[in-house]
């Protein structure tokens, strides 16, 4: 990564993590969904979280963003404890998320979908993505954001009702909803899933561009090949516990990961099918 791209990144940013998750546990009744998971996210990086089904990936996201209450543990954002804050307060600080199951405001046109997050206090303060602290006309800003994220401005797409949009656009709309807040961290819960290869191919540069602009990303993915292309670091969860973390090569070389995630198959074989 070229540090020139991120003028607002402090030199010691690599030492002080933007997000620190400390021994977070979550039990749903008798089921231990998360068991003392700790990790750090550094400003400007892309952290990938992988793991088999039911390993607690989405639960981690819900715990960070406050959508569910942790049984124990702490989350620190820029050194501040945000463990007990409600979701809207956490989003207001700049930690936004997408949802695995996309639920746009179906009855509204795409651009009106974005007018809603642009109404939030944070958007008013920051002016939205690219907004220099002042929010212009919400409809205009919304169409600007949609254009940048891949909705063709002069086509009819931004004006289409959300219920008629294909999955690819809905995934982008989810991202756009985060960007409307001018976020510092975006947590993407499976943005690649359900997309065709060509749709993913156009999504990857978008993710890379967001990183270039200094946004920290946490990506939960099942599409490993695409994730490894963009992620700087990978963390592996299994049965609610952190198995390991490191670069994609390190993680894939780990015997435990192979066993937990891929069974006894050869990694190369799985990657061919991914």
């Amino acid at each position: 990564m070229n540090p020139d791209m991120k003028p607002d990144m402090k030199p010691d940013a690599e030492k002080e993590p933007i997000l620190r998750v400390e021994k977070v546990s979550k039990a749903f009744g008798g089921i231990q969904a998360l068991n003392g998971v700790s990790f750090e996210v550094h400003a400007g990086e892309i952290l990938g979280i992988i793991g088999p089904n039911g390993s607690g990936k989405t639960t981690v996201v819900n715990c960070i963003t406050g959508f569910i209450k942790k049984t124990s543990g702490h989350v620190f954002f820029r050194g501040r404890d945000i463990s007990d804050k409600p979701p809207h307060k956490i989003a207001d600080m700049g930690i936004t998320r997408t949802f695995q199951i996309m639920r746009p405001y179906f009855t509204l046109p795409a651009y009106k979908n974005l007018v809603i997050p642009l109404f939030s206090p944070r958007a008013k303060r920051t002016g939205g993505w690219r907004g220099g602290g002042r929010l212009g006309d919400r409809n205009t800003v919304s169409i600007d954001i949609l254009e940048e994220i891949g909705f063709e401005r002069d086509s009819y797409v931004p004006y289409k009702t959300a219920s008629t949009l294909p999955t690819g656009y809905l995934k982008r709309l989810e991202l756009a909803r985060c960007l409307a807040l001018k976020p510092e961290i975006i947590i993407c819960d499976e943005v690649f899933s359900g997309l065709s290869m060509s749709e993913i191919a156009s999504m990857v540069p978008l993710i890379e561009r967001l990183q270039m602009e200094g946004i920290t990303l946490i990506m939960i993915e099942h599409r490993l090949r695409e994730l490894f292309r963009v992620a700087n670091r990978i963390m592996v969860l299994n049965f609610g516990e952190k198995l390991t973390e490191g670069s994609s090569e390190e993680v894939m070389a780990d015997e435990r990961v192979r066993e937990a995630y891929f069974g006894s198959q050869k990694v190369e074989e799985v990657m061919r099918h991914a």
Binding site: F67, T96, P104, Y105, T107, I116, F119, S120
Partner: protein, 338 residues
């Protein structure tokens, strides 16, 4: 038509449909009137109605209809634009009614002061009391909000407060019966068009977002409970306004203001008129309340006929009059030269 080769049918709204909302219509009187006609019919219809009806009895019925229409409007707003199905109509009416009654009898305020004050303050009280239930959604909110009017009515009865079962008497009436009639009609029309405007503003979009997907509203850094409370305040203030008017019309305030009629009839009217249209529930009240009065001659059979009419509506026009009417209105065609 003999010369079909030179003429074809075209939908009247063709020129309007292709443009986005907001900038349509100002191109010709014809298209302008196409859009304005339904609104003007409603406004003038409501204004002329009391003049056409014979006698005080039916004029009083219209006034009561308007109060029910306010409740139906508030129900439709909450149910279809915020996602809170509220059965608390009777609670709003009761709170507004008792507020106006107390302000009138103990503070000596005239009706023109008590009605707006009861609406504003009553809305605040209703919102505060409903605040703990706001995280509930759908049918759960409906169940809890149904409990409120029963709760307050039994409280007044058991503790013998606020006049107990006798209610509060000696309340001033409106100075003039025409003033009373047109005040309520005017307020109804203003609120109807006001709410229609509100749901299309940006804040209205947020409220509709709360209904569609409150998780996304939270994830966008907005406090869902705050917006729900705001919507409940608007809706309950409308109900309280109706209740305050009712008290001054009857010159009496009692626990019958917490009667479930005020919760149930607005829902029936919304079903008949078409939910989510805001105008529909008002039309539904204009149909249901007079029918209910007409059927008084049948004594106890009234409910049977009433139920039959409701069932017929639900079976044959389940989408509601307004949804049906709007669709048909948009399908009007005219002949155009090719």
């Amino acid at each position: 038509m003999g010369n079909n080769t030179q003429r074809r049918k075209e939908r009247i709204d063709r020129g309007i449909k292709v443009r986005t909302d907001g900038i349509y219509a100002l191109m010709s009187i014809r298209e302008l009137s196409y859009l304005a006609l339904p609104r003007l019919v409603l406004i003038f219809g409501m204004l002329v109605l009391p003049l056409l009806l014979p006698g005080m009895y039916w004029q009083r019925v219209i006034t009561i209809t308007c109060i029910y229409a306010l409740l139906a409007l508030s129900f439709d707003f909450l149910a279809h634009f915020v996602g809170l199905v509220s059965l608390g109509g009777a609670f709003f009416v009761g709170v507004g009614g008792y507020m106006a009654a107390i302000m009138n009898t103990t503070l000596g305020l005239p009706p023109w002061a008590t009605v707006p004050l009861a609406a504003l303050a009553g809305g605040g009280i209703c919102t505060l009391l409903l605040l703990p239930c706001l995280p509930l959604r759908g049918v759960y909110f409906a169940i809890v909000s149904l409990m409120y009017p029963l709760f307050v009515a039994r409280l007044i009865e058991a503790l013998n407060i606020l006049g107990g079962t006798d209610g509060i008497t000696g309340i001033d009436s409106f100075t003039n019966r025409w003033a009373e009639q047109y005040f309520i009609i005017g307020v109804l029309l203003l609120l109807l068009f006001g709410v229609r405007r509100l749901v299309n503003t940006d804040i209205g979009l947020v409220l509709r977002g709360v209904k569609d997907n409150d998780q996304a509203i939270r994830a966008s850094g907005m406090n869902v409970t705050l917006y729900k409370a705001m919507a409940v305040y608007i809706a309950s203030a409308m109900g309280c306004l109706g209740g305050a008017c009712l008290v001054h019309i009857y010159m009496w305030s009692g626990i019958s203001q917490f009667a479930l009629d005020f919760s149930i009839l607005p829902i029936a009217a919304t079903v008949i008129g078409g939910g989510g249209t805001l105008v529909g529930p008002v039309l539904g009240c204009l149909i249901l309340v007079p029918i209910s009065e007409l059927l008084r001659d049948f004594g106890t059979l009234r409910i049977v006929f009433y139920a039959l009419i409701l069932v017929a509506f639900i079976i044959f026009r389940s989408e509601g009059i307004m949804v049906y009417g709007r669709r048909k209105y948009q399908q009007f065609e005219r002949w155009t030269r090719i």
